[in-house]
């Protein structure tokens, strides 16, 4: 009895002492993590919450604390500019990711064929990725210029009835954005896929050769399933780019003609700064946030939270 009570009162003191030692040893580490902690708390969490809060207010040019419930959201979903932008980004996103994956994979497979000048080809496919979206947007705006651009060049070559005025066509302008974005980003997908392809063991290729499996079939049935993690990583990266789409739109079409290529990010920025509709912009930003979280959740769950089986 006595022994038990003695040990019970001794251990809390010992625990506290142990905690103090750990704290004393690790305090420089904790201190150096302070800037990161502040950033996480104030910016990543704080401003996000503030934006959500603002979406429930009647803020116009400056923040106000007049809470109006769901009014901004009502207004938002009745604003054609916004609903159009949501629709546009969906089309853009699907086409952009699909074409980038296909083209990137194709390029990686071609380069994987033990070709000469591999370095040169890789450099050519990846250089657009090193440039700003503004630069890309301006180049393609010029290239697709209805009178002086590609249309005229092809006509001069003899195809006098060729027309390519998508950039001023209400229905087709989003596709021009896709073209420019795919040009910029396919190289990235190619680089990732090539790394994946190169990671495939040479013995699998040998075995397939002995098994008489044609090369294309090897890629489709054996290699493609093996590089699924790379494909997922590429898709995630591309999707993040889609959510952030602003620079390209501003440079290439400014959301036009009219609102035919309006995008959510541009809508938000316009409402924050030019149109002085902070509340409305915040509501749009919050919708964007929710959409991203909803899209991210399954991936985060699959990657990090589901109990993994030990493989190999």
């Amino acid at each position: 009895m006595v022994a038990l009570s003695v040990s019970r009162s001794a251990s809390p003191a010992r625990d506290r002492a142990a905690a103090l030692v750990k704290w004393r040893r690790n305090w420089p580490a904790a201190l150096s993590l302070l800037p990161a902690a502040i950033i996480v708390a104030v910016i990543y969490l704080g401003t996000m919450l503030w934006t959500v809060m603002l979406s429930f207010t009647s803020s116009k040019t400056l923040p106000s604390f007049e809470f109006v419930g769901w009014a901004q959201y009502n207004r938002l979903f009745n604003t054609e500019r916004f609903t159009a932008s949501a629709w546009h980004i969906l089309i853009f996103g699907v086409l952009f990711v699909a074409f980038c994956l296909v083209l990137g994979f194709l390029l990686a497979v071609l380069i994987d064929q033990k070709i000469r000048f591999e370095s040169a080809f890789r450099t050519i496919y990846l250089y657009p990725f090193s440039m700003s979206f503004i630069v890309t947007g301006l180049i393609w705006q010029w290239l697709l210029h209805p009178e002086l651009g590609l249309e005229k060049a092809v006509r001069d070559l003899g195809f006098t009835s060729f027309s390519f005025n998508w950039i001023v066509d209400n229905d087709k302008v989003v596709y021009t954005l896709v073209i420019a974005a795919v040009w910029q980003a396919s190289g990235l997908v190619m680089a990732l896929m090539l790394a994946g392809l190169r990671g495939v063991d040479a013995e699998i290729w040998k075995a397939a050769r002995v098994d008489a499996i044609p090369t294309w079939r090897v890629y489709v049935s054996i290699i493609l399933p093996m590089i699924t993690p790379m494909i997922v990583a590429a898709t995630v990266l591309l999707a993040v780019g889609v959510a952030r789409l602003y620079d390209l739109v501003v440079a290439m079409t400014k959301g036009g003609p009219g609102i035919s290529s309006e995008m959510p990010a541009k809508f938000i920025m316009d409402n924050f700064f030019e149109r002085a509709n902070v509340g409305l912009g915040s509501a749009a930003a919050t919708v964007q946030l929710v959409a991203v979280i909803v899209a991210l959740a399954p991936w985060v769950y699959l990657e990090h939270l589901r109990p993994r089986r030990r493989s190999r």
């Binding site: 075995a207 397939a208 098994d211 008489a212």
Partner: protein, 360 residues
């Protein structure tokens, strides 16, 4: 059907020649092991036979057909690789049947072949698992199965057991031997492990630097090594090598070494004996402890090191001024510092030319 003939073949990459003029004949149903240290060209030779590598010169014949220009799939071969060669995202059943399905084999045919291979290799319980769910030994059995379903005439093994731990290696070795007994197909097996070579082969081809040093039955390789390299490569612990000279003494020949002579009357010379500097090779297991007898050569020494290994003990003593090892029974009472007598039979020894290393 499954005879393999390699005729004057040269293989190299760019300026580097792996071998220049290599020939080897393998009979139908024979189990030949290509044995040698890393870089000796054994894997290269195997890949050339398989058609995975081009030969620069020469011809390769399989089953009476010239296959020098044929693709691997047209050579009638099945191949088992070292590791990581199973299709990772397919089940075992799919791994086994994929090649057949691609070739358009009828479903019933595919099923029978897969079933037969699975039975032979005890894979029936594992057919729906993926490679990542199998142990190393199971994976290699699937790899063997994949070669099996091809109904090939020749099976090529590229160091299939090297990545397994010792216990598994022993188990699978026996399975491969049983497989050969059941199928009676030609098998060409590459390894650097002499135990695998000695236990599995009908004949062993010992290779070094792209040249076949000796191709013979395990018994001959072990007892009559063709040169110092083969003698040193096979047998653990290594064969004892004693420096000296072959000299004529009266009517017979002797081997004169730093501290005496060994009569060579019982030694089976390959050709006419001549005086020359030579090496006398005696395997530790052929050196007996105890007093000599008329037919054997005796010597004495003190025990310098004792290495108990359980079933046997390695004893280090001296002979001709140099260390000599002998293998004694594990229960022997030999201790450090003991004075011992030992003896060996020259008839079981090997004599090598000191400069060329060739067997005399």
């Amino acid at each position: 059907m499954g005879a393999v003939s390699v005729r004057n073949v040269a293989v190299g990459f760019g300026d580097v020649a792996v071998f220049n003029d290599l020939s080897i004949e393998i009979a139908d149903g024979e189990f030949v092991v290509l044995l040698g240290p890393s870089g000796c060209g054994k894997s290269t030779l195997l890949n050339a036979i398989a058609g995975l590598l081009d030969v620069n010169r020469g011809q390769i014949w399989i089953g009476g057909k010239n296959v020098t220009w044929s693709e691997p799939k047209d050579r009638g071969i099945g191949m088992v690789f070292q590791s990581y060669s199973l299709y990772p995202r397919m089940s075992v059943r799919d791994n086994l049947s994929f090649g057949l399905k691609i070739a358009g084999a009828p479903r019933a045919d595919v099923e029978t072949r897969v079933a037969r291979a699975a039975k032979m290799l005890q894979l029936e319980a594992l057919l729906s698992r993926k490679p990542s769910e199998l142990s190393g030994g199971q994976r290699q059995r699937v790899a063997i199965g994949r070669a099996l379903v091809r109904d090939a005439d020749v099976f090529l093994f590229d160091e299939p057991l090297s990545n397994l731990d010792a216990q598994l290696r022993n188990e699978l070795r026996v399975e491969i031997k049983k497989l050969h007994l059941e199928l009676s197909s030609t098998m060409i097996y590459v390894t650097h492990d002499q135990v695998e070579a000695l236990t599995l082969a009908d004949r062993i081809a010992v290779m070094k630097a792209g040249i076949i040093q000796q191709i013979a039955t395990p018994h001959d390789i072990y007892n009559k090594p063709a040169n110092t390299f083969v003698a040193g490569f096979i047998g653990s612990p290594r064969m004892n090598m004693i420096e000296g000279r072959v000299a004529k003494r009266g009517d017979g020949w002797t081997f004169d070494h730093a501290e005496g002579s060994v009569a060579l009357g019982r030694y089976p010379f390959a050709g006419a004996p001549a005086e020359r500097a030579a090496l006398l090779g005696v395997r530790p297991e052929h050196v007996d402890l105890g007093q000599s007898s008329p037919e054997r050569h005796g010597a004495t020494g003190t025990v310098a090191i004792v290495e108990p290994m359980g079933a046997e003990t390695i004893v280090w003593s001296q002979f001709a001024g140099k260390p000599i090892t002998l293998r004694v029974d594990g229960d022997s009472a030999v201790r450090l510092g003991d004075d011992i007598a030992f003896n060996f039979d020259v008839a079981r020894a090997s004599l090598f030319d000191a400069s060329t290393g060739a067997r005399l």
